[in-house]
């Protein structure tokens, strides 16, 4: 099998798993209890907090563990919106956010918070001028993702943070696709809130974190006990949190090497596919793009049918085609970038990672061209 869908999820690193295991049936104490068994679990959670904080160059007190990226996004948006509605209710985001942000915004809209959805250019970069223009005295929060999951485009987060600061508006970034892959320093970036998810960088599923800069006004998202200083109640997912901590530690040590290696593979795959398949488009920013992501549109064919044939060859990838989504709508990201729906229909995303090797790139670039050729033969639009 060739797995090239690392932006969807990653396998849990063996070293992460190993560190998690004792916390299921040996060190199972509830961190809120008094005895030493519980103390050890508490220590493990705090060590993980330090590791995550270190990866982000944050203070451990600024890290709140959540059940994942989606919760972190919802927490940030709703928590800030409700805590600051005395100041105003306006929220700014972009059209290419993950659904965790987009649908949280749509929910807030229904609750009476007006939301501006900023357009992007053809590379998927947020329109900075439009951003600055859309800020009003009522604006309380800007939420722009760090790197896009579908096309990999990296946003000018630092510039946006400066604008937000100038206008006294909180700035949240959904960094789920960035953290663990590329260096993310909350102080250098100047963000107030940041979401991350463990399973995107070789940690377990079901755990993530929200970074909240000290002093940011935010309401608790889940009410209950005093866990996470009352900001996020519920008995801690100790094994998951330990796993997130370990994944953060490993990422910090290994990401530089990994970036170099994987970027080479991605670039090679891109080059080969562009060479071998006529009429394909590479999506996303040519430079400011995640090193592991290759999104293409293959004209005149549909994505699901390509995925089915790739799957037969043991290759796992994804597509933004309408036919692959339950809503039967093509990717909102590609559409926002001005790609016509029929072209977005033929989108394919390969996202590479730790276990990809040169041979995988060879195989995919061998297997895909005939698949495309065959499907184009069936297509009414192909005059080849």
């Amino acid at each position: 099998m060739i797995y090239m869908d690392y932006n969807a999820t990653t396998p849990t690193d063996e070293r992460v798993l190993e560190e998690m295991l004792p916390y299921f049936s040996q060190e199972y104490g509830n961190p809120s209890s008094i005895y030493s068994l519980a103390q050890r679990a508490r220590n493990a959670v705090e060590q993980a907090r330090e590791r995550v904080a270190k990866l982000l160059n944050a203070d451990p007190r600024e890290i709140i563990f959540t059940s994942g990226g989606t919760e972190a996004d919802n927490f940030a948006l709703k928590g800030v919106a409700y805590a600051n509605q005395d100041k105003g209710k306006h929220i700014i985001t972009s059209q290419i956010e993950h659904h965790a942000v987009l649908n949280a915004c749509k929910f807030l809209e229904k609750q009476g918070f007006p939301v501006t959805y900023l357009p992007v250019d053809r590379w998927g970069v947020v329109d900075i001028e439009a951003l600055e223009k859309s800020i009003t005295p009522q604006t309380i929060l800007i939420s722009i993702m760090l790197a896009n999951n579908e096309v990999g485009t990296i946003q000018p987060i630092k510039i946006i943070a400066e604008i937000a600061k100038k206008h006294g508006v909180y700035f949240h970034t959904d960094a789920v696709q960035g953290v663990g892959k590329i260096p993310v320093d909350v102080n250098d970036l100047g963000v107030d809130l940041l979401s991350l998810s463990a399973h995107k960088f070789y940690g377990p599923k079901g755990v993530g974190a929200l970074y909240v800069r000290r002093g940011v006004r935010i309401l608790p998202f889940i009410n209950g006990g005093e866990q996470e200083k009352g900001r996020r109640a519920g008995t801690e997912n100790v094994p998951g949190i330990v796993g997130l901590g370990k994944a953060a530690e490993l990422a910090q040590r290994e990401m530089e090497e990994e970036e170099k290696r994987v970027k080479k593979l991605r670039d090679k795959l891109e080059q080969k596919l562009v060479q071998k398949i006529p009429e394909i488009i590479v999506n996303g920013h040519p430079q400011k793009r995640l090193f592991n992501t290759l999104s293409i549109c293959v004209k005149y064919v549909e994505g699901e049918s390509m995925l089915m044939n790739l799957d037969k060859e043991g290759i796992c990838a994804s597509s933004g085609s309408a036919c692959t989504s339950a809503s039967l709508e093509p990717s909102h990201v590609l559409l926002a970038m001005g790609i016509p729906p029929e072209v977005a229909h033929g989108s394919l995303r390969f996202s590479l990672g730790k276990f990809n090797r040169e041979a995988d790139v060879e195989k995919v670039s061998e297997v895909l061209p005939p698949i495309v050729e065959e499907l184009r033969r069936v297509s009414p639009f192909w005059e080849g």
């Binding site: 549909e302 089915m308 036919c323 729906p341 229909h345 009414p380």
Partner: protein, 127 residues
């Protein structure tokens, strides 16, 4: 990946009757408003019988498989018989489709009807 039946996969991977009929007697071009797929069906008619049928489809695996199946089903059939073919006939012939893919089989039904309609229109103007 979706749970497709063996028959769907087989027709998707080895579609029958792919292509254009240059001197077709009827052509039906239909689109799927749901997801933007397009299917074109070509028929050749002799004595009110469909003697040849081909298709071109831009769409998902289910759309390709249903196109392939519908061409097989109508070949050699009387036009009136062919008009009785519904999307259910096509889906059943493929041992069913995942619920979310039923709309794809509508294309096949509409495609064949559009081709027959086109044939009748042409014939009407010929006489």
């Amino acid at each position: 990946m979706l749970e497709y039946t063996e028959k769907v996969l087989e027709h998707f991977r080895n579609p029958r009757n792919v292509g254009k009929i240059e001197d077709a007697d009827g052509v039906g071009k239909v689109g799927n408003p749901m997801c933007g797929d397009v299917m074109v069906i070509y028929i050749k008619v002799k004595d009110e019988k469909i003697v040849d049928c081909k298709f071109q489809t831009f769409g998902c695996a289910a759309a390709i498989a249903t196109s392939s199946m519908v061409t097989e089903l109508v070949k050699g059939k009387d036009i009136n018989e062919a008009l009785n073919i519904t999307n259910k006939t096509v889906a059943d012939a493929l041992d069913g489709l995942p619920a979310i893919k039923y709309h794809c089989s509508l294309l096949a039904e509409q495609g064949i009807r559009a081709a027959i309609e086109d044939y009748r229109k042409k014939k009407g103007s010929d006489d």
